[in-house]
């Protein structure tokens, strides 16, 4: 018999681990990403690869600077997930330096400056996306019509590389508006929502399936929603944030649509367009930057939803998921401070329940 080890209880442990969580989230993103790559061709894949590679490099450099075990933390998969999410929100034909700058920014400024995994206040992918949108509005709102891989007119692999690294040859021939930007532009020009939707050809099925112009991985609400359901089923996330966020947007949109249909598109338009689905299931639910209690998560989700609707309807940017999530991230510590679970044997304020001096339960 060997010598005995005496460790403190518990002596058994669940199978969960940080890298398992990250891996599962990435796997649930694969269908929507695959669809994006298929729809927008090789350039979209280039963007994904560049984002991930730059994020990993940035992560390794930061870890080395901080004297932390590089291999161990690279293996946790969090940098890959951050970069992956960022890539999914970028325009698919975006130039290489946007992807590289974004991936690096997300890791260095979004995550490592705060102290690495688990320490960041803001969702790193969204921080990078917003930084890119504010700094490079032209590049970040350059949308293309889907040109499925291997279809006529789609760029081949070499042309894809050229698009990513040398730029798009003739901008006007390929550029298109995303439906959400289209409605916004129409709104500022005085067209009613119905006119804009008609001229922009809003089609529920195209929008739901994702055969429309948009960010690389945000177009297929269906595949993103399916991935989200898998996360729910595996209990990586709970329903509270997605339901609160989507529900709030739907509620506000329906209300406004009922009051002034010519100014506000209906709930379905909101749910299926832009980054809302991705935001609700994958970004707002980021474990690190969302509240840890269920009630807190409901407040957080509702706040995200309300902000998304406000920014989309009355803000100057067509899309508001990134801003909304970041603003609510900032509120997370506050929510966690005030919303605490009710402890067994205590009341909501945290005071012990009253002890009855002479209980008469037995006598009655």
């Amino acid at each position: 018999m060997n010598t005995l080890t005496a460790q403190a209880a518990p002596h058994t442990h669940g199978a969960n681990s940080v890298s398992r969580i990250m891996l599962i989230v990435i796997l649930t993103l694969v269908p929507a990403t695959g669809w994006g790559v298929y729809q927008f061709g090789w350039p979209a894949l280039n963007v994904l690869v560049l984002c991930v590679a730059s994020a990993l490099l940035a992560e390794a450099a930061c870890l080395r600077l901080a004297n932390k075990p590089v291999g161990l933390f690279l293996k946790d998969g969090s940098a890959i997930l951050t970069a992956w999410l960022l890539a999914m929100t970028l325009p698919p034909w975006t130039p290489w330096w946007i992807a590289v700058f974004g991936g690096t920014f997300a890791i260095v400024v979004g995550k490592q400056i705060f102290g690495g995994i688990g320490q960041n206040v803001f969702n790193p992918a969204m921080l990078a996306r917003v930084a890119l949108l504010v700094s490079f509005p032209m590049e970040m709102t350059f949308w293309v019509e889907p040109k499925p891989l291997f279809s006529a007119g789609a760029p081949n692999f070499m042309e894809g590389l050229a698009i990513t690294f040398l730029g798009v040859p003739s901008l006007d021939s390929v550029s298109s508006a995303s439906i959400i930007g289209h409605v916004k532009t129409g709104f500022t020009q005085g067209h009613s929502v119905a006119d804009s939707l008609a001229s922009g050809q809003f089609d529920i099925f195209a929008q739901g399936l994702g055969t429309v112009a948009g960010s690389m991985g945000e177009t297929s609400a269906l595949l993103i929603g399916l991935g989200g359901l898998v996360l729910l089923a595996l209990r990586i996330i709970t329903w509270h944030i997605p339901v609160a966020m989507l529900g709030t947007v739907a509620l506000l949109a329906t209300l406004c649509n009922l009051i002034a249909p010519e100014l506000y598109p209906n709930a379905l338009f909101h749910l299926l367009s832009g980054g809302l689905m991705l935001g609700a299931f994958f970004i707002a639910t980021d474990l690190v930057t969302s509240p840890s209690t269920r009630v807190g998560q409901l407040i957080f989700g509702a706040g995200c939803g309300a902000l998304v609707f406000v920014i989309r309807s009355w803000g100057s940017f067509p899309e508001g998921v990134g801003f909304a999530v970041l603003l609510m991230n900032a509120a997370t510590p506050l929510i966690d401070h005030y919303v605490r679970p009710r402890i067994y044997g205590r009341n909501r304020k945290g005071e012990p329940l009253a002890i009855k001096e002479n209980n008469e339960r037995g006598a009655s």
Partner: protein, 454 residues
């Protein structure tokens, strides 16, 4: 549709508490095996403090011969019980020996007369029906009964209801929610009548008018067995509860069975309840009428490195080394745990004896030890621990404060004292953070600094 699936669906509606975890059970190996008896070890080591409270006081001296069942120590105060000789033999020594909790404790060393018949001759029969509540409590203390579920709280003290309080319900804990352990399961199957007798005595002692036996729904055979012995309108009833850890924690079981919540800092009698473990009450049902002392107990021996796992009746004081020789262990043995894997203590020496509170002996190998001492990541604030904590604390927040050594804030603002160290938080943590270990240390440090102040 097969019966198993149907039962599963039905079980969804069984009573339970909020939060908790579902660890793998590992119970099937030992649950179906009848209880067997281990032989006497050549020497038994009987520690003088086997219970929560004050240690017992030795009444024998080295060189003295004792009979099996003879009292060898008396209660050293109210919160203490008597000890009895587990075998006929010779008291060799009273000296310091290793214990499961760490520090060495005063221990009576008994050399067993191996040729003796080991028949229990020492007894003092009585009729519980004719005894008053206080006479019963005294007799229970003389039996040396303590909580056999592992808490080792003296049973007479538990059944004693302070003046001004009244108890209507006796909660009988047959949950056995720790993985591997099946002693309570086997006791319910093999000694149901003794258990029911014990429950009736305990009800009388505590003044309770009804008793509810709470059994996890992974032991449906035990539920049926007990129900078959009870009348339709009996004051004792059996209630299935969900199989979920830590269902057997007293306060959570009370919530599941009666809906009552024990106030923080209060006792179960504050809500009219008194609770006991099935193993304890089964022993009460046997020992009290015969006027005998607690000299042996049922222990589950299991774990990947045990060759002949099962439930064994083991004399109190049998050293682990002897127990493991009897059941056979594989060579990779690395860790021996007394109790269940969630809350049990790992021993540092095989000279540690089996005491009244040992419900299980688990033997683990290298792979388990490696998994326990795995890499720790920073907290990713996933909230799994918050969702698991049955007391609805926030273990992640507490552990961050523990890392900063801010133990006072932990207690004053985050209710550290409500933690009963079930280990759910550390079990679920994907980052491998030793959450409950942090909280345990913090609690111990606070206890000590408060002792200093007082």
């Amino acid at each position: 549709m097969n019966l198993k699936a149907l039962t599963k669906i039905k079980n969804v509606f069984n009573k339970s508490f909020a939060h908790g975890i579902h660890p793998r059970e590992y119970k099937d190996i030992t649950a179906s095996l009848p209880i067997r008896r281990l032989p006497f070890a050549p020497r038994l080591y009987i520690p003088l403090n086997q219970n929560i409270g004050s240690p017992s006081e030795a009444m024998v001296s080295p060189g003295q011969e004792v009979l099996r069942g003879q009292p060898i120590a008396k209660a050293g105060g109210y919160l203490s019980v008597a000890l009895h000789a587990p075998a006929t033999g010779l008291i060799e020594d009273i000296r310091l020996m290793p214990s499961a909790k760490g520090p060495k404790v005063k221990t009576i060393v008994l050399k067993v007369y191996e040729a003796d018949s080991q028949h229990v001759v020492y007894n003092n029969p009585c009729d519980p029906a004719r005894m008053s509540s206080s006479e019963l409590l005294q007799a229970i203390q003389d039996c040396g009964l303590v909580g056999l579920g592992g808490a080792t709280f003296p049973t007479h003290a538990k059944l004693h209801i302070p003046r001004g309080h009244q108890v209507d319900t006796l909660v009988v804990n047959g949950c056995e929610c720790e993985p591997y352990l099946t002693t309570d399961h086997r006791v319910m199957l093999e000694q149901p009548q003794q258990l029911i007798n014990g429950i009736r005595i305990a009800m009388k002692a505590a003044g309770a008018t009804q008793a509810i036996i709470g059994v996890e729904d992974n032991k449906l055979d035990a539920i049926e067995r007990l129900r078959s012995l009870l009348r339709e309108d009996d004051s004792i009833r059996v209630q299935a509860v969900k199989t979920k850890y830590p269902q057997g924690a007293e306060r959570l079981l009370i919530k599941a069975l009666t809906g009552r919540i024990v106030p923080s800092g209060g006792h179960s009698h504050d809500v009219g309840i008194c609770s006991n473990n099935v193993g304890t009450l089964a022993q009460l049902g046997v020992l009290l009428p015969q006027g005998q002392g607690l000299i042996e107990r049922v222990v589950t021996i299991a774990g990947p490195e045990v060759e002949r796992p099962g439930n064994y009746i083991i004399p109190i004081g049998t050293p682990l080394r002897f127990v493991l020789q009897q059941v056979g262990v594989k060579s990779q043995t690395q860790e021996v745990i007394l109790g269940g894997p969630m809350m049990g203590d790992a021993v540092s020496s095989l000279d540690t004896p089996v005491t009244k509170g040992v419900s299980g002996i688990l033997v683990f190998g290298e792979s388990n030890v490696a998994a326990e001492s795995r890499q720790t990541f920073p907290c990713i604030k996933c909230g799994q621990c918050v969702k698991a904590c049955p007391m609805h604390l926030n273990p992640a927040q507490l552990s961050m404060l523990a890392e900063k050594r801010d133990y006072i804030t932990m207690e004053q603002r985050f209710h550290l004292k409500n933690c009963f160290e079930c280990g759910c938080c550390a079990f679920v943590c994907p980052a491998g953070i030793p959450l409950v270990q942090y909280l345990r240390i913090a609690k111990a440090i606070n206890r000590e600094s408060q002792l200093k102040v007082a």
